[in-house]
Symmetry: C2
Amino acid sequence: MTAQPRLGFIGLGAMGRPMALNLIKAGYPMAVYARRPGAAAPLVAGGARAVANPAEVAQAADVVFTIVTASADSEQITLGAHGLIEGARAGTVVVDMATISPLTTRNIAQELEARGVEHLDAPVSGGPMGAQGATLAIMAGGKPQVFERVKPLFERLGKTILYMGDHGAGQVTKACNQLALTVTLQGVAEALMLAQHCGVDPAKVREVMLGGIAASRVLELFGKRMVERNFENGIDARLYHKDLNIVLDLAHQLGMAAPAAAVTLQQINALIGSGGGNSDFSRMIEVLEKASEP
Amino acid sequence: MTAQPRLGFIGLGAMGRPMALNLIKAGYPMAVYARRPGAAAPLVAGGARAVANPAEVAQAADVVFTIVTASADSEQITLGAHGLIEGARAGTVVVDMATISPLTTRNIAQELEARGVEHLDAPVSGGPMGAQGATLAIMAGGKPQVFERVKPLFERLGKTILYMGDHGAGQVTKACNQLALTVTLQGVAEALMLAQHCGVDPAKVREVMLGGIAASRVLELFGKRMVERNFENGIDARLYHKDLNIVLDLAHQLGMAAPAAAVTLQQINALIGSGGGNSDFSRMIEVLEKASEP
């Protein structure tokens, strides 16, 4: 790789757009492709060149970043018709920063490696704010020497850059994180709902819990929203729905029981069904509340 | 109450013994009763007077503390034959520091109040270490003026003394705490087991999670034990079994769904069944592990 690699970027949504802009600002030349017309405009205004499909992105780039929503989308833009694989050369690096199934990731990496194309999985946490401020946590899996090559680019996107192991290890780490987070939130929701049902102030109970072994970031952040009934302008519940689905699909494939995760996904299903998918995830407490209403 | 109230203490186990000793050290005269012969000896050696039954404790005391294991035990020593109620006078205060059902607590308080006897529920958290060092967190429910009278005594036992509301509010707070704690632990166990099943180092995944929104005291303390497979000399799983049973009984009585708590109790049942009741609660991860063994 030269000192100034040419970059590609696909997936210019709430996360991808500010990430790509941070790389452009750092001086890297960039080719972009957007499925939605108009999505590339802010990048082109910043100096990027829009091309017709993923294959053309790969032709124009040494390192291609992708961050699209679902496992099937990652697979399509990488291995599908006019996909990255058609334009990539031996030594091209594909870095998938979306949160997708570790099994899909391993499959993609294998297909690319058969052509000599390198792959890293590097899902992030920190949300759109972290993407804008370049303070994301990045959890990467793949070959260590490929990780080292891409690391200077990761440092333009995030603050905590972690190498977790072989292909898929980044996705596994993200899956574990989302599992613990969502189940903890379900526990916090049940605890605060219990307080409410018993006529004890949930705000006060939350304060007490924050001082002891039941304390968690979830209780701090989402618990505050639950107590205040403030479900707007947060982190959309539908994103956790997607991620916990990945977790349970993985558990299914592995033959591993994850009973609390399963129950929590059912509760998220109900939240989505009741129209709460675009509300902050703390709205999960309403599922419990509604369930016992007269 | 005089400046130097006479105290009573019943329940001289791993929690009660050091608590009673801290009160004796502070100079209060004390009458004790122990169901197990010999349990009173260390207190008598410290200057307490052993009497024949709870009624005699109440006769000899202005404020009686109780901390016995189960709801039925609290009920028995307070309202049963030769119970506190038989020896107490109008104005005597009974302070129950065990973790029992808020419904039992409210019933006990009502029976005592009919005789003019005062009652506080004041469960604690912090374990035997907190009892010895007088650093317990105490969550109290009952009349505010009774709480104020007993507060100087609580200050000999703990560091965080909280008034939560009317009779039962202390128990409700503790129940909420144990619910959030146990469900969080189940989520942490599932997350670390997922990492292990995927061949990614659980210790490393735990470190990453501690830096983000999935961080919790449970991940910090119990998660460390899970990773190190260190299940000895901790907090016995059977205690959480008892407490989560109280939570689910309460949910049952209230007609409230607590699905993640229910799943978690089933997992604790399995841990107890496999002989893990006296191991640290972090051993819950073994239930998941065993379940998918060939």
